[in-house]
Each structure stands twice: as C-alpha cells, then as structure tokens.
C-alpha cells in the first residue's frame, strides 16, 4: 500500500504549486485526456463526460477539496443523475443512489468486459466510427483505450487509498496472458495475415503497457495469485467502511500512470517557466538558458506559440555572437514553422516571410564565417555555454540543425499556401511574387552547400531550384534569376553566367544526374525533358524520354514523380503539335485522353466522383495536397483542342479511306471517334460555341472536302491564343488541313471519277502543283490509292477495283490469320524473355501492338502508358542498345 501513500504525498507537495500551475497545466492535462477518455460504448459516455469536467478542475483543487464542499456537491449530483439514467439497464445496481466508489468499480468491471470481448475477436484496433471521425490520427485501439481507462480508474481508486478490486487484478493477469499468447502467435507468423499493420502496432504498444502495469501492481498481483480468496475478502471488508465514508466524489487524478509519474518533473518545469517568464531578462548572458526553456516547451500542448516566437525574436535582438545568433535563429525558424500545426491550412504569410528572412540571415552568417557549421549530426555539446571557434576542435563550431530542412519546409509551405489561395484573386498574384525571395533563398542555400561541399543536401536544394524554373518561360526565369546577381552569395551556376535558361537548366540537371539518389535523377530528367519540350525541342525531348526508359519504371515511382511524368508527356505532345508533327502529337496525347481523367492525372483538380469507389477523407486530403498550384497548370482546354485537332487530321482521311464496315470499327483515336459519332447523330447543329463544337463541325467540313470552312472553324478557336506561337501554329494547321483535305477528298470521291486533273486539284486546295503531285505519288506508292499519273495530260487516272464480298472476306481472314501468328510469336517472345526476341522479324507493327497491350495491363491507377506510335518503334530499339545512358547523352 505504501505506493499509494507516496502518491498521495506527491500530490500534497504539489499543492503549493497548484495555483501557479493551474493556468498552464490545467488545460494541458485536459487536452490529451479527452480523446483517450472517449469510450467506445455509449454506456460510458456520460461518465466520461463528467470525468473530464471534474478533471479539468481537479488539478487546481487537488487536495483542497475537503474544505471546498460546494463544487463537490455539485459534482455529486451530477454523478447521481448519471446513475439514475443508467439504472434501468444495469441490473447489478441495487441501490438507487450509488456511491462513486461503486460506480467506479462497476466501470472497472465493464471496461474489463469490453476488453475481453475485443480480445475474443482478436481486434487490437477497433476504431469505432465515432472515434475515427473526430480523432483520426489517434490510432487507438479499443483494447488500448479500454486498458488505459481501466488503469486510470484503478489509479483513482488507489488515490483514494482504497484497495485494488480483485477484478482488476484478475483482468490484468488474464490480459497479460492473452497478450503474450497473441505475441507468441504473431511470432509464428500465423496471425500475421490476420493482423493488419495498425493492429500489429497496437498490439505492441499494448504489450508495453501491460508490462508496465503489471510491474506497477506487482505486489497485489502476487498477493492475488497466492490467495485469491483472501484478497477478495480483504477487499470486501475494506470496501464496507469506505462505502460509508464516501459521501462526496473523489478528487483523483485521471492521468494515466506514466503521466502521473512525470507530474513532479512537469511541475518543476512549469514553475521555472513561470519564474523565467516573470524574470525573463533578455540579456546576452542568459540567452542559452532562455533558449533551453523555450526549447523544452516546444511541442507541448499548452505552449503559447506566439509568445514563444516573441521571446525568440527578442532574444535575437540581444544576441551578440555568431554562435548565439545561429542558435536563436535555428530555434526561431523552427518555432515559426511550428506555429501552424494543422496539416490542411497553410502558414500565415507574414510568418512565412519572416521565416524566409531569418533563413536568409542564417545562411548569411554561416556563409560569412566558415568557422561555424550547421549540421544535422554533431557531437554532443552543452547547450548552455557559449562556444567559439577558438575553443573547439578543428576550429569549427558545429551546431545541430538543418538548413536544408528549413528550405524544404519554406518551399512546401509556399506551395501549400498557393494551393489554398483562390487562384483568381489578387492575393494569389501577391503571393506569387514571394517566389522571387524564396528562389533567392534556395539559391543562397545552394551556394552555401556548394561552399561547404555537402553533396546530399546540395542535390536536394538544386532539385528545389530546378523545380522552380523548369516549367517557366524564359522571361519568368530571368526575372527570378535577376535577383541573384545583386546578392553577394551566389551559387556557381546562374543565368547571368550561363546566358540562356536552357543552359542553366542543363547544368543544374547535369549536376543532378551525377547524384546517387535515383529519385532526384528521375525528377531531374523529367524536368529537363519538360524544359526541352517547352522550348519546342521535340526531338531532343523525345529521345531523352525514350532513352531514359522511364516509361518502364515509372509505374513504381511515387505519385509526385508520376504526376511530373504525366506533365512531361503531355508537354511533349503539345510540343509536337506546335512543331507541326501532328501524328506524334496525336499518339502522345492519346493515352491521357483515353483515360478521361486528364485533370486528375495532371494533378490539376480532383474529379468529382468516381464510379468504383468513394474516396475516404484521407485519400481526398492526400489528393488535394498533391495538387499543383494554379500557375503551374497546363491548360487542359488547350490540351484538348490540340489533341482533337490532331486526331481530326489523322482520323478523317483514315475514315474516308476505308470502305468496309469491319475496318471502320478500328479507330485510332477513340475519344475523337466518340465525339464525332455523337455530333453525327445530332439532328440540328447550331453555330459552334465550345472548342469541341468547333472541332466537330470542322471535322464534318473536312469530310465533305470543304477545307476552307474547316480551316476557318479551327482558326477561330479562341483557346489558341494561349499557345506561345499562336500565329505560326494556325498557319501550320491551315497547311495541314489543306493536305489532309486533299487526301480525304481523293479517298472519298475516287470511286466516282476515272480521271482527275492535277491542276484542278491544286486550284481547289490552293496547293502548289508540285505538292499535289508529290502527295498523290506518295499515296500511289504506298498503295493507299489505286491510281497512276498521266504525265503528258497532267491527270490522275484512277483504277477502281470492286471487290466482291467473298474476296473481301478472304482478305479479312488472311489478315486475321497473320495477326494471329504474329500474336503467337509475340507471346512466345515474352515467354522466352529475350529482349531481342527469338525472331526479330516481328517488325514494327507487331512490336508496337505487343507493347501496347503490355502497357495497358501494367497501367497503374495513376499512370498511363506513354509515347506510342511513331516514336515507339524507335524507342524499343533504343531499349536494346543502350540501357540507362542518359548521363551520356547530355
């Protein structure tokens, strides 16, 4: 029993402090209590509620409750009310009014029962609905919850100097056995399958708790084991008198074992803080002391973060030596980041700005004086004494801290704020202006890491820098870079020295390619490709993408990288479109549009709902945190326009060239075909409004051979204005429309003519005669058109051959059979796993198809297949020759 007395003694000694402590510790204790005390069962709801209300008072009243009769009365009545409510359902209850003690005993028992139940179903984590909603991050288990509660109740019991109820001991013993058994079972890996990760974790923490508790009650447990009956009798006899004595509620500590043990220490601390707060004199002498206090208070629930920041700011003012200033700055910046603990909302902008300034300051100090170093790992040092280079070994003062994590955090917070600010307001633009200072900070830290030659953080910071500039047009990059020249700390590579943005990005990427971290390499590569694509350097971008073999491994990358990959591929498609490589553009953009989740795949918006499953709140939150800030978006409407127009240019002539129904089903671009069919079914078509309308009507015009109308419709699409070189793109499109118009015309009307004059064709489509001749020659050569040219008269002679039905069918079946064989060869290839294949005659077509199917199968939930069609054939060739040789290429 001595233990309980000691405990009581402790509380006694506390009482002097209790008044001072009350302000701070009162709410501190209450806060963690709530989630834990929230029981799963409604039966305990009421009592728990009253618990916490009494708890919140408990610390200040503590031992003085004897004299304080009134609130006690109130509380008692509360409990009574609670009891009467329970009365009907509780058969054990004999008396109408029960003492608190009985109440407690009952609770103990009930808790034990709940635990038993949970144990039976082997459920270490049973997050009830109510809990998961309000305390999702509390991965508590029913059992743990209940166990904690049990301990708490028992604690209270012991505080009241009452003997332990035998039931508790019994439960404890039984429980220990179960836990051990469960662990043993787990060791055998049998239960592994059954138990998910949370469950397993819960079980482990349970084990710890049980062990602790058993130790605590060692004596009682032994007593009980020796003679259970005696124990019970003793308890009963003890209970009798107490029963009579307890007219008032017990003031007890609800804190669980661990916390109550810590209590004295905590108290000490808070006393000092209080004193320090009062006597806090901001002088250089006791900076470290104050710093230590602040440091200790960090992360505690009741710490006033604003106050801490103020303290630190004052400290910074008085700090004299570099060492002091570094130390204070380190603490200050981290406490600024602490200010906002919520994951969803972003850091207040003024705080962010000052944090940014302070990081800058910090870097300046460290760069200016190389005898100070901020490192993540240092030897232990006494935080309370001043240090200077002279007293240190090697003449360098090493201070624990991490600038890279500050920079990371600054950047992340910046992105987060952009995600949360309405992109159409002025606030967004204002915020965006801060990117300049952020960029400068990043560059400064790059300079710092270059100077101190720390490769790992340097790579990280270079990546950050790259991410700020890779997707931006030259003008923006030079604006960002312009601030660098003025500052005295500059990294080795700046725009001023490397003249063009491309070479700047090139040198940054080269640096990253040499890094060990493969994730950084991948991201650098993608950014590099993106940059090339943005600058219309299609071939380089394509070759880099294909040679990097990223499309094979990207499925296993993290989501952010996959998003970057998607962005890169899309940008590549747009680049092809701008360069007039219609087929490539179509093939590249095809994949992302067939998924119909363009926005989601580019992280530019969450799709409202999905058919398969509803997203859980966490998923949604994660999704949201991934979204790109608005200024990074690739305009999806523009993207769609580019895709549909290129699909039109590919698909319409193709549609015209095929006659039989069977072939018609094979569409190159399904999304386009779908839209076209839909437009065909429309009874009445009004003037076009949306981009799609324009393109659909243009397609119909193209099908009818009215290329001028088609051109006008396409060129009147407003969204083109967002394209960098709108005028030249429009021109290019006009030219392509002319050509494809001619092809479509020939395909469509060839059966109705026996000869066609070349000059007429050239006039109709306003193409030079040579171009017309060349195009028709090409069609003849490729056997798309059965015709020949008559040079002397300048006409195309069309040979029309009508195939009879059996002939057509024969051809179809021949096609199918050869496709079958090809497919078989493909399968065997895959089976044998030879990269070159056992027969490399497969040719491009079969190869492509095989890869396509493979890709579809392998497509993850968020990634898509990649560049296909034209470039692919070549890509697969690269695949065999090269390996991952990107570093070599540039």
């Amino acid at each position: 029993m001595s233990r309980f007395f000691r405990q009581a003694g402790d509380s006694d000694s506390d009482s002097e402090d209790s008044n001072e402590e009350s302000l701070t510790s009162g709410d501190e204790d209450a806060a963690p209590q709530k989630p834990a005390a929230k029981p799963a069962m409604s039966r305990f709801l009421r009592t728990a509620g009253s618990d916490s209300s009494s708890d919140s008072d408990s610390s200040d009243e503590d031992e003085s409750e004897m004299s304080d009769e009134e609130p006690a009365q109130k509380k008692k009545s509360k409990f009574m009310r609670g009891d009467s409510d329970e009365e009907s359902e509780d058969e054990d209850v004999k008396r109408v009014v029960k003492s608190t003690k009985d109440k407690r005993l009952e609770e103990i028992e009930a808790t034990g029962n709940v635990m038993d139940n949970a144990l039976k179903i082997n459920d270490w984590v049973a997050i009830s609905n109510g809990q998961s909603h309000s305390f999702t991050h509390f991965a508590e288990t029913t059992v743990i919850l209940e166990f904690d509660k049990l301990l708490r109740l028992v604690q209270r019991q012991s505080n009241a100097a009452e003997p332990l109820p035998p039931f508790f001991i019994k439960t404890l013993i039984g429980f220990e056995e179960t836990v051990n058994a469960a662990l043993a079972r787990e060791k055998e890996k049998e239960a592994k399958k059954k138990m998910n990760a949370t469950n397993a974790r819960a079980l482990n923490s349970m084990k710890q708790k049980v062990r602790k508790a058993t130790k605590e009650f060692e004596k009682e447990v032994r007593q009980y084991q020796n003679d259970p009956e005696l124990f019970e009798r003793e308890f009963a006899s003890h209970a009798q008198p107490v029963d009579a004595v307890v007219p008032k509620p017990k003031k007890s500590k609800k804190v669980a074992e661990t916390e109550s043990d810590e209590e004295p220490i905590l108290d000490d601390r808070f006393t000092t803080v209080g004193k320090g707060g009062r006597a806090m004199s901001f002088s250089p002498d006791n900076i470290f002391k104050t710093l230590k206090l602040v440091h200790e208070a960090r992360g505690k629930k009741n710490t006033d973060r604003g106050e801490q920041i103020r303290i630190l700011e004052k400290l910074l003012e008085v700090a004299v030596t570099s060492y002091q200033r570094i130390r204070v700055l380190l603490a200050l910046v981290s406490s600024r980041f602490d200010y906002n603990s919520s994951i969803t909302s972003y850091m207040p902008i003024d705080l962010w700005l000052s944090a940014q300034r302070e990081v800058d300051q910090l870097i300046t100090i460290v760069v200016a004086d190389s005898s100070y170093a901020v490192q993540e790992n240092t030897e232990d040092y006494d935080e309370l004494i001043e240090r200077n280079p002279a007293t240190e070994r090697e003449g360098v003062v090493r201070i624990r801290g991490s600038i890279i994590s500050f920079v990371d955090r600054l950047d992340d917070e910046f992105t987060k704020s952009l995600q949360n600010i309405d992109p159409h307001g002025t606030e967004y633009v204002d915020r965006l202006k801060d990117e300049k200072v952020l960029y400068r900070t990043i560059c400064r830290s790059q300079a710092f890491y270059e100077q101190t030659s720390q490769p790992e953080p340097l790579a990280r910071v270079v990546m950050r820098r790259l991410e700020h500039i890779y997707s931006k047009p030259d003008a923006v990059v030079s604006a960002l870079e312009s601030s660098l020249t003025s500052s005295e700390i500059t990294p080795s590579v700046i725009l001023a020295s490397s003249t063009t943005t491309s070479s700047l990005i090139h040198s940054l990427c080269i640096h990253l390619y040499k890094v060990d971290n493969s994730l950084l390499r991948t991201r650098a590569m993608l950014s590099h490709i993106y940059h090339h694509a943005l600058h219309n350097d299609f071939y380089t971008a394509r070759d880099m993408l294909l040679m990097s073999h990223l499309q094979e491994s990207i499925h296993s990358a993290d989501v952010a990288t996959q998003i970057l990959y998607n962005r890169t591929v899309v940008q590549l498609g747009l680049c092809a479109f701008r360069c007039g490589l219609i087929k490539e553009a179509q093939a590249t953009l095809q994949d992302i549009f067939t998924t119909q989740r363009v926005k989601e795949l580019l992280a530019q918006g969450v799709h409202p709902q999905r058919f398969q499953q509803q997203l859980t709140p966490e998923q949604e939150k994660a999704e949201r945190s991934r979204q790109l800030p608005f200024h990074m978006h690739i305009n999806t409407e523009l993207l769609e326009a580019a895709f549909l127009v290129s699909s039109m240019l590919v698909e319409v002539p193709l549609l015209a060239s095929i006659e039989s129904e069977e072939q018609k089903r094979k569409a190159i671009s399904k999304p386009f075909r779908r839209l076209l069919d839909f437009a065909d079914r429309q009874v009445f078509t009004g003037p076009p409004e949306s981009t799609r309308d324009h393109i659909m009507q243009a397609s119909k015009a193209l099908q009818d051979g009215e290329w001028e109308k088609c051109r006008d419709l396409i060129q009147s699409i407003k969204i083109w204005s967002l394209m960098p070189e709108a005028a030249s793109v429009k021109e290019m499109l006009a030219k392509r429309i002319q050509e494809q118009g001619l092809r479509t015309y020939l395909f469509t009307y060839a059966p109705y003519y026996s000869t066609l004059s070349l000059s007429l064709l050239s006039r109709t489509f306003s193409l030079p005669l040579r171009a017309v001749t060349s195009m028709i020659s090409k069609m003849i050569w490729n056997e798309e058109l059965s015709a020949s040219l008559d040079q002397s008269t300048g006409v195309v002679v069309l040979h029309r051959i009508e195939h009879s039905r059996p002939q057509q069918l024969a051809q179809v079946i021949a096609d199918k059979v050869s496709a079958l064989v090809e497919q078989n060869e493909k399968v065997l290839d895959i089976k044998l796993g030879g990269s070159g294949g056992w027969g490399d005659r497969g040719g491009d077509k079969g190869e492509k198809r095989g890869e396509q199917t493979q890709e579809r199968r392998g497509r993850g939930d968020r990634t898509r297949g990649s560049v296909r069609g034209g470039p692919r054939g070549r890509g697969s060739r690269f695949a065999q020759g090269l390996g991952n040789q990107m570093t070599r290429v540039r």
Partner: protein, 462 residues
C-alpha cells in the same frame, strides 16, 4: 563539297594507323588545302613509332628546316625496344613453332597453358610478350608481323581484356595489309565478342558502365568495319545485314548518325541483288525501305546529299529535287574515301531507282522528260529505258510508243488472290518455327545461339 566530307567526323573513331589512308585520300582529292592535310599527317605520324615516315613528312612540310633531334633518339629507342621484345617473343615462338607442340595443343586453352608450362616452362607472362611485341610491331607499321603475333597470342592467352585488345589489333593489321577475307572473319569474331560481352556483363550489377562501353565498342566497330565492307566483294550486302540489325541500328542512331550515308549508299548499290536475288535475306531486300524510315527519323540529326536523295525520292516523291540531290550525291560519293570506287555503280543504280519509282507511279511517261530526270541525253535516255524495261519485270507492262515518244505502262492491279496468298505465305513455316522455339526454350532458356539461328531458317523458308 568540303562540308560533306566525313573524314573529320570519322577519324576520332579510328585507330591512329587507320587514319593514314583517309588522310592520304584527302591529299588526292584536294578538298582541303594540301598543307593542312600534310600537317595533319605529320602530327599523326609523330605519335607512332614510324619514325622514318614522320621524318619524310616533316621534310615535305618544312623542306628547309632541320629535322628535330627527338626523332633520332626515338628511332634508337624504337630499335632497341624492338630487339628486346623480339627476344622475349622469340622464346615463346620457338616453342610454339615446334611441330610437336602444335600437335599437342587442343581447343582448351587452360589445358594448353598447363601443357606448355609443364613441358616447356612457358608462363603466362611470357606469352604476353607475344602481345607486346605484336603491338610494338603495329606501332612502327609492320602490320602483317603484328597480325601474326597477335594471332598466336590469342590462341594461347586466357586474359579476356588482352584478348579483346588483340582482336582489335589483329583487325586493324588485317585492314591495313588489305587482307579483306581474314579481316572479315576477324570482324565477325570481334562482333561476337562485343555482343556477347554485353549479355554476360549486363546481367551483373554494374549495368551502366558496361552498357556504355558496349556502345562505344560498337561505335568503333561500325567505323572500322567500313574499311572491310567497302573493300570486300560481298561487303555491301554484309554491311546492310549488320547495320540493319536492331542493335547496330541503335548504335548508329544514337552515336553516329553519319553512318547513314554509308548505309544508304550500300542499299542503293545492292539494288540489283535486292531486285533479283533470292539469296539475299529479307533485310537486304527491304533495305531501302528500312533505311528511308531511319533517314526520316534521323533527319533532324543528320542529312547529306545521299540521304536527301533517298528522302526526296521515297518520302517526298519530288523527282526534280531527287535529281538535284543526285548530282550532289554523285560528287560526294566520288570524294568519299570509302565510296569513291563505287561512283559509277552508284549513279547507275540511283538512276534505276528513280526510273523505277517514276514508272510505278506514272501511267504515261514522256521519254524526253524521263531522260532529263536521269541526267541523260534523249538518245541515251531511250537506250537506258529500253534496257530498264528489258531488265526489270516491267516487260509485260511497259511499252514504248515511239510515235508519241512516250512510254505507256499498264499495270494490272494485283489480283485479290495474289494478295491473300502473299499475306498467308510462310504462315505455316512461322508456326513451325514457333513450335521449335517452344520446344527448345525449356531446356535452354536464354540460349543466344538458338535464338539467333532461328530467324534465318524462317526467312529462308519465306
């Protein structure tokens, strides 16, 4: 014309000694100022042990200057080294040339080594002396001697790296002595070495450097093989065969797109075998089509008159432009070190290609016009066309109407059955091959020989 000269691009991929013929050729063509070329020759020779040659070049270059001192010292040193190395090598050679030993040697190298060690006290180090001597001989220009020594070394040595090095040395020596048959053999074995090394090393952890070295070796091999392929009688076909295989096509596309010129020329040159020959594999038969495809994809990286000729002819179908490019290409080919000899043949074949394409597309052709397209006079043109019709299979379709001075071509459309037969041809064989492939695979998974021998069987059948 100097713009299109590839010597400068190619030389970095050649051995010092292999570059001499190229430079000598440049002296002849006088594309560049002769002094510059000579200076280059001198610089090149200075780095070798061919002291006398370097001295003579120096005298040519600076007729009125003293010969630098260093040469005599170098000469003495070379002679002494030669003697020393020869002594070392001779010991080994004496043993090997012993008929008893020659008979006792077997296929197994390790066993051989053991045998030599036991009976003649020959160690690996001594055998390496063969390599050293061979290499030294090479440096002062005794290529045939070098080839001999390196050959002996390779038979005995087990050191992989040195063996590969000896391979390269032997190939260079064979090329420089002009033994094209042996050079071709050497080339093929070297190719196998380069290719096979990949599969063994690629499987190990350090893929990256291995892949890179492989790429480098292949690039070098591609350049060196040009010597062989454009001198060996069967060379052009073999060139197409090799360079169009996926691995080498990759190499060319990634690291040396200028080789496309040689591929294109070889394809044009081997047109005849492509048109009539049944022996040529499908790869060679369709080489032009393949190469045109590659030229199209690589257009942004490399183009010259030869490739643009093919491009204009088969992609743009612009006969006038093709004709223009042909005139240019003709000169380029004439000036090229490797292609120079084939100038006439090239022109001839290119004309055939033009007229073939022209005839296929047109129904009625004016003879005068066609002659003009071919850069021929009217009479010549007519003769040419008659020959063309006679030689190719167009005989049944094309007729010359002398009165109107036109050729009439009546192509009957391909009958449906024909196309069906065409499509289904070889399916049975392919299926059979599939079956064999399946049977063999379980016992020998990833057996390179097996997998590579397969396609030729099938293609022959097709």
């Amino acid at each position: 014309m100097a713009d299109y000269d590839l010597s400068k691009t190619i030389i970095p991929y050649l051995d010092r000694h292999l570059a001499f013929p190229l430079l000598a050729h440049l002296v002849e063509t006088s594309l560049f100022p002769i002094e510059q070329v000579q200076a280059a020759q001198y610089e090149l020779a200075k780095g070798t042990n061919m002291v006398d040659y370097a001295v003579s070049l120096f005298e040519q270059l600076h007729p009125d200057e003293e010969i630098p001192e260093e040469f005599s010292g170098k000469r003495d040193k070379a002679v002494s080294t030669n003697e020393r190395l020869q002594l070392e090598a001779q010991a080994v050679l004496d043993v090997i040339e012993n008929p008893d030993v020659a008979q006792a040697l077997r296929q197994d190298k390790i066993q051989n080594l053991q045998y030599l060690k036991d009976n003649y006290n020959l160690t690996l180090e001594q055998i390496t002396a063969l390599y050293n001597f061979g290499q030294f001989q090479y440096t002062y220009g005794n290529y045939s001697g070098a080839a001999d020594y390196l050959y002996h070394f390779r038979v005995l040595s087990t050191d992989n790296d040195l063996n590969t090095s000896a391979h390269w040395g032997k190939l260079a020596s064979d090329i420089l002595t002009g033994k094209w048959e042996t050079a071709l053999e050497e080339l093929n074995t070297l190719r196998d070495v380069v290719d096979s090394r990949s599969t063994s090393t690629l499987l190990t952890a350090s893929t990256e450097p291995a892949a890179l070295t492989q790429l480098h070796s292949r690039t070098w091999l591609v350049h060196w093989s040009l010597f062989v392929y454009f001198n060996h009688p069967q060379g052009r076909t073999l060139l197409l065969e090799t360079f169009l295989s996926p691995t080498y096509l990759n190499t060319i596309q990634t690291s040396c797109p200028w080789i496309l010129r040689y591929m294109a020329t070889a394809a044009i040159l081997s047109r005849k075998s492509a048109a009539g020959g049944t022996a040529a594999s499908s790869r060679v038969r369709h080489s032009i089509r393949e190469i045109v495809k590659v030229i199209q994809t690589e257009e942004y990286q490399y183009q010259d008159p030869v490739t643009s000729f093919l491009k204009e002819l088969y992609i743009e179908f612009d006969f006038e432009a093709a004709q223009r490019e042909l005139t240019l290409a003709d000169r380029v080919v004439g000036d090229d070190f490797f292609l120079g000899e084939f100038r006439e043949e090239f022109l001839d074949n290119a004309r055939y290609l033009i007229s073939e394409a022209y005839c296929r597309i047109h129904q009625r052709i004016d003879i005068g016009d066609l002659s003009e397209r071919l850069n021929l006079s009217r009479d010549e043109g007519e003769k040419w066309i008659v020959n063309l019709i006679r030689e190719t299979r167009m005989g049944a379709e094309a007729k010359i109407d002398l009165e109107k001075n036109v050729i009439e071509i009546h192509r009957s459309p391909l009958p449906v059955y024909q196309s069906v037969i065409e499509k289904t041809r070889g399916l049975a064989f392919r299926t059979q091959a599939l079956g064999t492939g399946m049977l063999h695979s379980p016992q020998q998974p990833q057996q390179p020989q097996q997998t590579q021998s397969q396609p030729t069987v099938v293609e022959g059948a097709r």
